[in-house]
Amino acid sequence: MEQGRTIPEGGLTLSSISAPRPAATPVVLPAAKAALWLVGTAVLALVAYYFIGVDQGAVSVFGKDMHIHEFVHDARHFLGFPCH
């Protein structure tokens, strides 16, 4: 996804048969510029996903401590993660 890429109008079958319309979602985020925020957000979200679902079970960053696991215990089961 190079910077500022847009969908070429001519490549779409619909646009060749109908009158020109405003683009559906005109904003195409320039990947390079937005990358920092998007990647950072995704990483933080995955860290949260890990602590809710996995930590202090199969692998643990706090060793044998079980406080997070026990606290979110019911949510972990209910959200579909393997537990115990």
Partner: protein
């Protein structure tokens, strides 16, 4: 723009997580309570059998949090943080999809991305490794079970992304309808092959060795030395209700993310529609 989208994704996720928590508190907690009662009863029956056989008693795990805290606060914190994490991932996926997946209106795209999140992050992995209440799942297989579950999540999401890409590639040649069907078919075949290859949890080496050849880890009736049943297997109705509510809660969570985010994105991306002149070309679907 990306910062605005992420903020709205977090908001939608927090609202969705709160809704899912209320649902869980009302519907799931009674089932979790029943499962824990079953587990305690079974442990007691097992302890009695062990005592009769002259085996040493197994030590109980200390309770770090009371059941009240787990059932009222812990599950709430878990659901809301999970909702916000999913809202953030949703916003990232939405930002990447903007303008790259065809002529879709902002709010339609929001629902489609939310649907993808529900399928990839939860429902497809659930079909292979469904959610289990407490009392189901052997402690010694947690490593393998977590690994297998996360492989399912990763491949479901990866194949969904690949299917969306494939659909875009096929669209000029086959048209929207057929390209969508072909991409969906390819997804089903690919993820189906993965499901066929990955082992059922009951077939893990540890389980086969200690519990025999069963498909799942769901506890069977407990028998004494003579083969008499001294404690029943896990109640089927509790298991069904728990799983049904688990699917419902995730459906609720992702629907809420999509429906809360959709109007916010619409206002952000189509600010002119409110003042559109009569006779102007209508927006795409």
């Amino acid at each position: 723009m990306e910062k605005k989208l992420i903020l709205r994704g977090l908001l939608a996720g927090a609202a969705a997580g709160l809704l899912a928590f209320l649902f869980a508190r009302v519907f799931a907690e009674p089932q979790i309570g029943k499962a824990i009662d079953y587990e305690s009863g079974r442990d007691a029956a097992q302890a009695a059998l062990d005592k009769a056989a002259g085996l040493p008693a197994a030590g109980a795990d200390p309770d770090l949090f009371s059941r009240t805290v787990q059932a009222d606060v812990g599950i709430g914190a878990g659901m809301i943080v999970f909702g916000m994490a999913m809202g953030a991932l949703f916003a990232v996926a939405y930002a990447v999809c903007l303008g790259r997946v065809g002529r879709l209106r902002a709010r339609t795209l929001a629902l489609l991305v939310a649907g993808g999140g529900f399928l990839g992050m939860y429902l497809v992995p659930f079909l292979k490794y469904p959610a289990n209440p407490p009392a189901i799942g052997h402690e010694d297989t947690i490593r393998a079970r977590s690994g297998l579950y996360l492989i399912m999540v990763l491949l479901s999401v990866a194949f969904l992304v690949a299917a969306a890409w494939l659909g875009r590639r096929l669209q000029p040649r086959f048209g929207n309808w057929n390209a969508t069907l072909l991409a969906a078919g390819a997804f089903v075949v690919a993820i189906g092959a993965v499901m066929a290859i990955l082992p059922p949890l009951g077939h893990l080496a540890y389980n086969k060795e200690h519990f025999g050849n069963h498909a799942t880890e769901t506890p069977l009736p407990l028998t004494d030395a003579d083969g008499r049943i001294v404690y029943p297997g896990f109640p089927a109705d509790v298991l069904f209700s728990f799983r049904c509510y688990s699917v419902a809660a995730q459906l609720l969570l992702w629907t809420a993310i999509g429906l809360v985010f959709a109007p916010l994105a619409e206002r952000l991306l189509h600010p002119r529609t409110q003042a559109a002149a009569p006779g102007a070309a209508p927006l795409p679907v």
